[in-house]
Symmetry: C2
Subunit: 323 residues, 2 copies
């Protein structure tokens, strides 16, 4: 078969011949119809991820086909979460390193990890769902426990997880707001059902919220950095701030007084458990949520897909067609 192989940091990302995998006990072999990129794949290619093992076939997301039965599936990308819903075990890893990922013609997967493709989704949309949907679901629903009628703020709208968090919160019946450095992205979010948005490049954006008595019950953030203090400032009493990334680095100047007086909860969240995955798929089926696709590339042009993600202007998932 052929697959996208990363065999050196910052090296070329090529689609080339490699041995077809053979299923182990409990596994099936599936043809990959579509896959999708996550920042994780980009970070691995750049040497910016923990415990990188090369060479690797990246990719955590796919829509796959059982060529014998004709059934299509998506994959729970979790391995070895463990028995504690609160946190993953030390043996936890995500599909796509160290095991073979989805940017390949074929993949062998434990039959316990496959879920029927949601009927309302195209193959490309289904491929866009798993890892970002899981991460968003755990942050918004399991950790922050967003409820109908609550005000939810999603920071840095545009990435896969942020968009799913926005779509899930709208489906829950929350009043959803976003931040971005781009007015265009804010406008896009409003077209998708967000109530309003704030340019975080305006350093006083949070003061506008405070002046308008707009406070958020739930905030979903993947930036960190000193802007995190603005999120704390606009959190409502009893507010929950789920944080699933830290692209802007460490946070200085956090006030314990504001955290305890407002009874805030700052909740770290990454990926999600097998239970979170099942709940997420059920939620997507129930609410007929459709992943947003920004761009689609053929797997022969995977390098271009990585380059687009690296530009950081994302609004929706980058999907890879395998035919």
């Amino acid at each position: 078969m052929k697959a996208v192989i990363i065999d050196q940091i910052n090296g070329p990302i090529e689609y080339k011949e490699t041995p077809t995998p053979e299923p182990k006990e409990g596994q099936g072999i599936y043809k990959v119809l579509y896959s999708a990129l996550n920042h994780r794949d980009l970070y691995i290619s750049q040497g910016l991820y923990a415990k990188i093992q090369l060479p690797v076939i990246p990719g955590s997301d796919a829509c796959i086909l059982d060529e014998i039965t004709g059934e299509k599936y998506i994959i729970n990308p979790n391995n070895n979460w463990g028995t504690d819903e609160r946190a993953q075990s030390p043996d936890y890893h995500i599909l796509g390193m160290p095991t073979q990922g989805t940017l390949a013609d074929y993949i062998c997967i434990d039959k316990s990890k496959i879920f029927p493709k949601p009927a309302h989704l195209s193959d490309a949309e289904a491929a866009a769902l798993p890892l970002a949907g899981l991460t968003a679901y755990r942050a918004l629903c399991t950790r922050a426990q967003a409820q109908k009628g609550e005000k939810v703020l999603i920071s840095g709208i545009g990435g896969g997880v942020a968009l799913f968090a926005m779509q899930f919160a709208i489906a829950l019946g929350c009043e959803v707001y976003v931040t971005s450095s781009s007015q265009e992205k804010i406008n896009n979010a409003k077209e998708l059902g967000a109530k309003n948005g704030f340019l975080y490049t305006d350093e006083n954006w949070h003061k506008t919220c405070i002046a308008n008595k707009l406070a958020f019950d739930v905030i979903i953030d993947s930036a960190g950095g000193n802007g995190f203090n603005q999120l704390i400032a606009v959190a409502a009493p009893g507010g929950r701030i789920a944080i699933y990334g830290g692209t802007r680095g460490k946070v200085d100047g956090i006030s314990p007084q504001i955290i305890f007086w407002k009874q805030l909860s700052i909740l770290g969240s990454t990926m999600g458990s097998d239970k979170d995955f099942k709940n997420m798929v059920d939620f997507v089926n129930e609410h007929k949520i459709k992943p947003l696709i920004q761009h689609q590339f053929n797997i022969a042009n995977a390098q271009e897909a990585f380059e687009l993600m690296n530009k950081g202007h994302q609004f929706g998932k980058i999907v890879i067609s395998h035919s």
Copy 2:
């Protein structure tokens, strides 16, 4: 009657004549047998609390007597928590400012706020319980949800809340550790059932924990400051850090990556709801927990009690006898 009256910031704290209060509808009038100090009272006297209104009779804790029936009670110090268990309402206030507090011969209290004095406690011990017990219970049980068998770290042992948190965690069947700047306080905590303690004045104390693979499921902190990063470092995956104070000020250099990868929860907590108070009293009765008293003063010498608290060498509650 006579009462302790604060009528100027950093002024003398005098026990002097003032009109006896008259009960409003729904209230009873009670003789105060014992009261107890909280840092809140000290901060009010020093002008270091929010929304100070002078003159005030301070005090949030008491053991009181119904002189007609001979029954003794403790007081739920909450007023107007509101209907949201997650956070207090904007109208919330604590007994002892702006309303009259417990450092007086008599006090009028809503009958819905009084609870029978726990039978296993002396009058002085009962007076030491309410506000610190409530604050510790909410932080440890309601917010951090400490469970039997978990490892719990209480930072800065010695203050009323920290000691209750330690006693409650031991009663829950947790394995309890403490930090302090004083080896004597650590030794005292170990005599009371803590498994071990760490001098936080040793800037590498947390490395000892990490080297020994000692990680904490629950951490209860009232300091904040940059030492908070050491608490994050010794938190176990899925760990909950409840923070009910910030005596060491703002926190710099918090890493989002550690928070999300370990799936930590940083949980602000202050005082507690009426439900928390009821649950706390039930817990204290069930486990026959006895508040620790450091020193007892007569109300005529209240100034000395404030001075002792100001020295910061506390290990247990400072109780005021009213006879």
